[in-house]
C-alpha cells in the first residue's frame, strides 16, 4: 500500500497567481522601493470603451511601477487578466510602451533599467482594435530597443496566459519565465476552433490545451528559459537572478537559423504529439519545484 507523502513546504508557499496585478508588481521590488506611476488616481481611462457601453477602469488594467530589484533600477508592468481579459487597449499599450522607452532612455544614459512584464493577456482588446494592434507593434519595437542595454523579462504565471499579438512581445523578450499553469501561444484554442474548426482544435479539451501551450511543455521545448512554481518567493528569486545576470549573449528571437532548421525538420503530413516537438536538452526534468521532490520521495519509499 502506498502512503500519502506530500511536501508541506510546497503547499505552504504563497501563490503569485492569486495576487492582484498591483500586488504582483509590488512583490517583485526590493522592500518599499516600488512606486506606481500613472496610477488609478491619475484616472487616465480608455476613451473608447464608454462609447461602446463598456465600463472603463481607472488604471485600464495595467499597472506600472518603478523601483529597484536586487539593488538595480527596474520597472514592472503588470496586466490584470480580470479586466477585459488583459486585452491591450490604447491606454494600457501606451503605458507599457512609455515605461519601456523611459527605461531605455535611462539605460542609454548610463543607468541601466530592466523591465519585467507580468503578462496576463489574450492580446489586442477588440473594442480598441486598430489602436490595440498598433500598440502591440510599438511595444515590440520598444522591447527590442531596451533589451540591448538591460534585460526585458516576461513572466507568464496565471492560466489566462499570454496570447495573440502579446505572444510576440514575450517572444522578443530577453527571458521568459513561466509556471506550469501559464499558457503561451499566438492563437488560443478558442480562436483556432473558431477559425479552423473543432477537428483542428477542440478548445474544451484542457489536457490538450496545456499539452501544447502549458508552461511545462514550453519549457521542455526550450521556448521558455525558466519554469517556476506558482510561488511568490520563487518568482522573486528568479527575477532577481535574471536581472543580476543581465543581457543574454543572444536573444531567442534572433536565433533564426536554429529555429528555422527545427521547422524544416518537422513533417506536417503526420499527426504530432506535442511532447515530441521539443528542441531543448533541458526537456527531461524540470529544475525547480515539487514534482521532482515528490518523485524522489516516492522512489525512496519504493526501495
Amino acid at each position: 500500500m502506498r502512503e500519502v507523502i506530500f511536501s508541506r513546504e510546497y503547499l505552504q508557499r504563497r501563490s503569485f497567481i492569486e495576487l492582484s496585478a498591483r500586488d504582483r508588481a509590488e512583490s517583485l521590488f526590493d522592500s518599499g522601493t516600488g512606486r506606481e506611476l500613472a496610477g488609478p488616481f491619475d484616472r487616465i481611462e480608455s476613451p473608447w470603451l464608454a462609447m461602446q457601453g463598456v465600463t472603463p477602469q481607472a488604471d485600464d488594467g495595467c499597472i506600472v511601477m518603478r523601483g529597484t530589484i536586487a539593488g538595480q533600477r527596474a520597472v514592472v508592468i503588470a496586466f490584470n487578466g480580470a479586466f477585459q481579459g488583459g486585452g491591450i487597449g490604447e491606454v494600457s499599450g501606451a503605458k507599457l510602451t512609455t515605461a519601456l522607452d523611459l527605461a531605455c532612455r535611462d539605460s542609454e544614459n548610463g543607468q541601466p533599467t530592466s523591465a519585467v512584464l507580468l503578462l496576463e493577456t489574450g492580446g489586442v482588446r477588440l473594442q480598441e482594435a486598430n489602436l490595440g494592434l498598433a500598440a502591440v507593434a510599438e511595444i515590440i519595437s520598444s522591447i527590442i530597443a531596451l533589451r540591448r542595454y538591460a534585460p526585458v523579462i516576461s513572466v507568464i504565471a496565471g492560466p489566462v496566459g499570454c496570447f495573440g499579438g502579446m505572444s510576440l512581445t514575450a517572444g522578443v523578450s530577453s527571458y521568459i519565465v513561466m509556471t506550469p499553469e501559464g499558457r503561451l501561444g499566438l492563437n488560443g484554442p478558442e480562436v483556432i476552433e473558431e477559425e479552423s474548426g473543432v477537428e483542428e482544435f477542440d478548445a474544451s479539451d484542457r489536457a490538450l490545451t496545456w499539452s501544447i501551450y502549458g508552461g511545462q511543455q514550453r519549457y521542455n521545448q526550450g521556448l521558455v528559459d525558466i519554469l517556476v512554481d506558482d510561488d511568490i518567493d520563487q518568482v522573486i528569486k528568479t527575477v532577481q537572478e535574471l536581472i543580476t545576470k543581465g543581457v543574454p549573449p543572444r536573444n531567442r528571437s534572433e536565433q533564426v537559423d536554429v529555429y528555422r532548421s527545427h521547422i524544416a525538420a518537422l513533417d506536417p503530413s503526420t499527426k504530432w504529439n506535442p511532447a515530441d516537438v521539443s528542441w531543448s536538452a533541458a526537456s527531461l526534468a524540470r529544475p525547480i519545484g515539487r514534482n521532482q521532490e515528490v518523485a524522489s520521495n516516492e522512489e525512496e519509499h519504493n526501495q
Binding site: R2, E3, V4, F6, S15, P180, E181, S204
Partner: protein, 522 residues
C-alpha cells in the same frame, strides 16, 4: 453460452426474449455511473416486439434513455433526477410521449422497488465478473446491491454488464447466485466526475460564507458529523478547515465524521488530521489510489479499494449526522427551495433526503440538542439543515424570489404538487454573503420571514427587510452578520484556501489523486 456469461453480440436478442412488453425494468444509472452498454443495447430492440415498458431509473442522464420513449419501447417512467436531459424530458412530456409516475428522491425510489415498484428485469453494471457470475462493483458500488436485491429475491431477472470477465475477483461485492446473465461491455461503463470542484473557481464571497458557517454554525452548535452538498460553497468550507478552522483551534472539535463522496477538496482536511471517518455514496473519478492509501478514513475492502453504497450512505446521512449543508438556485420568502427552473424538469437526486429533519431519530448529540428552541418536558432535538445561497446569481438574477419557478413548472407538467427540493420548515439556517438567519429560533411565520429577509440582500425578498426589525433580530440572536460572530470580511480572500488549484490538491494527496483531464491546467 457458458454459465451466466452471454456473448456481447447476443445482448439485443436476449433483451428481446427476456423482457416482455409492459414489464417494469430498472436501468441502473445514477448521477455517477451508468449501465450504458445495456441502455445502448435496449434502444436497439425491435419496437414491434417490445413496447410500453415501465422504466425505473434514478438518473435520466443519457440521450438514449429518452430515445426509448421516442421509439415507443418505453412509456412510463419513475425517476429521481434528470439533470442533463431535463429540457428534452420536459419537451417529451408536453408531446405526450412519456408518462411520469413520480419524481422521487434516490432512497425513496429504491424503497419503492421493494413495495409497489417491484422490478421484472434489472439492468446493472459492475467492473468485473468471474465465470460464476460473482460481481466486483469496486469503488463505485453505489446503487447496484439494492437494485439487484429487489429483483433477485422476487423472481426478477438480473442482467449485469461488466468491463471485464476474469478468473479471480479482487473481492465479491454481489454473489453470483443473485445474477442471471453477465455480458462484457464494449467499453468501460460511463462515469461522471460530479463531485470534483476546481478550487481555482472559488471566489471571495464563497470564502466569506464558508467562514461564517465554520464560526456561526459548526463551532456554535458543535457539529461533529455532517454531509456536504456538491457546490463551490461547500468546497470552500472543506478547504477552510485546515487553515481558518485551525486558526480558531477547532481541529478535533468539529467535523470529524462525514457521510460524503470522496470530494477531492476534502483531501487537505484529511491530511491535516481533521477527519476521522468518511462513508461514501459512490466514489469519485481519480480518487481511488488516494482512498486506498487512507483505509483508516474510508470504508475499503480487503483489496484496498473503496466500498460505497448509496442507500446505506443516504440512511446514514438521514439518521446519523448532525448537519446537512447544501445550496440551491432559488429560495422563496418561506425558505422553500428548488433547483427546478423554467423549462427544465430536473428532479431532486439525494438532496431532500439529506436536507430534512428525520423525525424517527432518537439518539442525541450536542448539536442535535442545541437546536431545541422551546422548553418543555418532551422537546425533541433537531438536525441542522443549512442552505448556503448567494443573494444574486452571476447575470444579476436574484436567488431569493417571491414565487419559485418550480410552482409554474409543476403546474405545466400536471404534477399534483410543486417540485420543491427542500421545504422551508425543514431548513434550520440560511447563510448568505450578508449573514446567517437562524430560522429555527424564529417565533412564528412572520418572525421567520423577517429573519430571512434580513440576510437576503437587495433581492425582492431582501428589500422587505426593515432596519429596526433587523436590529432587533440581531439582538435576539436570530440573525447574525459577520461582525456579530467575529468574522472579518476583509480576511475573506483566496489566500485562506488550503488548496487554490487542482494542482494543489494533487500535491496534498502526495500525487495519489489523478484528476480527470478536463480539470487539468498544467
Amino acid at each position: 453460452m457458458k454459465g451466466p456469461i452471454l456473448p456481447p453480440e447476443k445482448i439485443v436478442d436476449a433483451l428481446e426474449r427476456l423482457i416482455k412488453s409492459h414489464d417494469r425494468v430498472v436501468l441502473e444509472g445514477d448521477n455517477q455511473k451508468q449501465a450504458d452498454f445495456l441502455s445502448r443495447s435496449l434502444v436497439k430492440v425491435d419496437p414491434k416486439r417490445l413496447q410500453d415498458l415501465h422504466l425505473i431509473i434514478s438518473s435520466i442522464s443519457r440521450p438514449e434513455h429518452l430515445t426509448l420513449f421516442e421509439l415507443g419501447i418505453a412509456k412510463k417512467v419513475d425517476f429521481s433526477f434528470a439533470g442533463p436531459q431535463s429540457l428534452r424530458l420536459a419537451q417529451l412530456l408536453e408531446d405526450g410521449k412519456i408518462e411520469v409516475g413520480a419524481i422521487h428522491t434516490y432512497v425513496e425510489l429504491y424503497a419503492r422497488l421493494l413495495i409497489d415498484l417491484i422490478p421484472d428485469v434489472v439492468l446493472v453494471c459492475a467492473e468485473q465478473a468471474d465465470e460464476q457470475g460473482n460481481l466486483y462493483t469496486g469503488p463505485n458500488t453505489e446503487d447496484t446491491p439494492v437494485i439487484v436485491e429487489a429483483a433477485a429475491f422476487h423472481d426478477g431477472i438480473v442482467i449485469a454488464q461488466v468491463n471485464q470477465i476474469t478468473g479471480s475477483l479482487p473481492r465479491v461485492d454481489i454473489p453470483g447466485s443473485w445474477i442471471d446473465l453477465v455480458v462484457q461491455a464494449d467499453r468501460p461503463f460511463a462515469l461522471e466526475p460530479l463531485f470534483t470542484r476546481d478550487p481555482r473557481k472559488i471566489d471571495d464571497l464563497q470564502i466569506l460564507m464558508g467562514m461564517m458557517v465554520i464560526r456561526g454554525i459548526y463551532e456554535r452548535h458543535n457539529v461533529q458529523s455532517l454531509n456536504h452538498g456538491i457546490g463551490f460553497g461547500t468546497a470552500a468550507i472543506e478547504l477552510l478547515l485546515p487553515t481558518y478552522g485551525e486558526s480558531l483551534g477547532l481541529k478535533g472539535k468539529i467535523c470529524q465524521h462525514w457521510a460524503l463522496n470522496p470530494h477531492p477538496t476534502l483531501i487537505p482536511a484529511i491530511e491535516s488530521g481533521w477527519v476521522k471517518s468518511v462513508h461514501c455514496f459512490g466514489s469519485e473519478v481519480g480518487m481511488d489510489d488516494y482512498i486506498a492509501a487512507r483505509p483508516d478514513i474510508f470504508f475499503t475492502g480487503r483489496d484496498g479499494r473503496l466500498r460505497s453504497n448509496r442507500v446505506l450512505c443516504q440512511l446514514a446521512g438521514q439518521y446519523a449526522v448532525d448537519a446537512f449543508i447544501g445550496s440551491t438556485l432559488q429560495m422563496d420568502g418561506d425558505a422553500n427551495s428548488s433547483t427546478v427552473t423554467k423549462g427544465r424538469l430536473a428532479g431532486f437526486g439525494g438532496a431532500p433526503n439529506m436536507g430534512h429533519d428525520p423525525h424517527g431519530r432518537r439518539h442525541t448529540s450536542p448539536a442535535w440538542l442545541d437546536l431545541i428552541s422551546s422548553p418543555g418536558p418532551v422537546a425533541r432535538g433537531r438536525k441542522l439543515v443549512v442552505q448556503v445561497v448567494e443573494t444574486f446569481h452571476s447575470g444579476a438574477s436574484p436567488a431569493f424570489v417571491e414565487t419559485l419557478d418550480a410552482v409554474a413548472v409543476g403546474q405545466k407538467a400536471g404534477m399534483p404538487i410543486a417540485p420543491v427540493m427542500i421545504y422551508g420548515d425543514d431548513v434550520s439556517h440560511v447563510v448568505t454573503e450578508e449573514g446567517i438567519a437562524y430560522l429555527y429560533k424564529a417565533e412564528g411565520q412572520e418572525d421567520r420571514r423577517r429573519a430571512l429577509a434580513a440576510v437576503a440582500g437587495v433581492s425582492p425578498i431582501g428589500l422587505k427587510a426593515k432596519p429596526a426589525e433587523t436590529a432587533a433580530l440581531r439582538k435576539r440572536g436570530i440573525v447574525a452578520y459577520p461582525e456579530d460572530i467575529g468574522v472579518h470580511r476583509l480576511q475573506a480572500n483566496r489566500s485562506l484556501l488550503a488548496a487554490r488549484s487542482m494542482e494543489d490538491l494533487v500535491a496534498w494527496s502526495g500525487g495519489l489523486y489523478t484528476p480527470p483531464p478536463r480539470f487539468k491546467s498544467w
